[in-house]
Point group: C2
Chain length 232, copies 2
DNA sequence: CGGTATATTGAGTGTCTTCAATCTCAGTGG
DNA sequence: CCACTGAGATTGAAGACACTCAATATACCG
């Protein structure tokens, strides 16, 4: 298992993602300087406000990235899964981490030191451009999120988040969302109280739009859910 | 007036902002390929969803950048003033504009075609890095905004926005905010109904935290306003 | 001096939050 | 095997907060 991730060349991350613009030589360069670590659910890679010394590339598992409000409430900003990188913002801007990065499904993560990234950026304009485009894409996502959270009701946002989760992480053979989140985590994405999420989920269930078995959620009527998330 | 903006070298934009990493030669290169236009309040530089062919650099005046909800409601994402650039996201990612860019104070704006930007990015790694850092900074701002809008009350957000406006655009001799926004625009930043902004402003006034003369707003008790925006 | 856009105020309502109690379930130790 | 425990999930009730709609006032523009 860990064997697979010792070579960037063979890693799926290098095919998609920003690394696709790198030559084999560049990938070897990263290989020689990266380290690989295994993490368990609940582990924190870095905490908001801390300095970080490189970027993290997810080989397997899932991370949640969140900001913490002054009252201690988490706001989940994004997730990272296979092929995604995180921490690059802080590295590129040489600023403290602006989110906390926590493992929610056991993960194998590669760490690439800052100076390696910088030297690649300087050397390879296409890589720099890829990084820029990644940032721009995330910025656009963030802006859409701002609009939604400002204009939509909790119910609409919850519907949207469920669709996003299925889209991003997929579903199992029986149609249940692959990713497993607590109600509290769901509420920290949607931006609402845990109890509200629970009540609205049970509403959606009684409307036959979703189905639930224990903690697991299945989208039954995707069309209707889309309508709910986007009533215009 | 327009004379001043014919030469990037002399333009204040080139001192701060992302252009500071460019040589005189590079600035001349931009000069030879840019165009300058004057705009009136209400003019739209580009609209969300449209293709744009270059980036816009604000020499004077103010722009608001907003997304439009499906029900037609604006969500203001950011402003751009002297020295700021806009449209670069869409150019770098080669995607349609993700916001509408509208003049709210008469403006002089330089237009720099995409291919010029790309060739500078390829040629000058420091310029690329500056652009990246700009994007990262905006991304961080956006994430903070998400957290705030999700977790704070309208009153807290309004207080925060007022502080931001004073910070970003300054105040006149009598202490009034320089930037002039309608109540509707204020509500489109805060993410609330116009009436709510009006009521909360008048609350703040009766608490002697702010003062109003017609449309103009003055922050009287900044300390208190900070406390309101950040009650922990 | 109209006429239009913006601002303000009031009333009524609905959504969401908060707080507190209860329930479920998985893991633990006896 | 079962009671115990703690974390997470659920439910109920009460009330705060913010929104909508409608009416009115004021300011601004030509």
């Amino acid at each position: 298992m860990v064997e697979d991730i010792h070579l960037c060349k063979g890693c799926a991350c290098s095919k998609s993602s920003i690394f696709s613009s790198l030559s084999n030589e560049d990938l070897d360069y990263i290989d020689d300087n990266k380290s690989v670590n295994l993490y368990k659910k609940g582990d924190v890679l870095y905490r908001e406000g801390n300095r970080i010394l490189g970027i993290y590339c997810v080989n397997s598992g899932i991370l949640k990235l969140y900001k913490t409000g002054l009252d201690g409430k988490e706001q989940i900003i994004a997730f990272a899964q296979k092929g995604d990188i995180t921490g690059y913002r802080s590295v590129l801007s040489n600023e403290p981490a602006c989110t906390t990065s926590e493992v929610i499904e056991d993960a194998a993560i590669c760490f690439i030191p800052s100076n390696i990234i910088f030297s690649l950026v300087k050397k390879n304009a296409d890589f720099a451009l890829s990084l820029m485009q990644l940032t721009c894409k995330e910025l656009n996502q963030a802006n859409i999120f701002i609009k939604d959270i400002a204009q939509k009701t909790v119910r609409e946002r919850l519907a949207e988040v469920l669709l996003m989760l299925e889209d991003t992480f997929g579903k199992d053979a029986e149609g249940y969302l692959t990713i497993s989140l607590t109600r509290a985590e769901l509420s920290n994405i949607v931006g609402t109280a845990t109890e509200s999420v629970i009540r609205l989920l049970s509403d959606l269930k009684s409307e036959n739009v979703i189905n639930m078995t224990g903690k697991k959620i299945k989208i039954v009527n995707k069309t209707e859910l889309k309508k709910i998330s986007n009533p215009f």
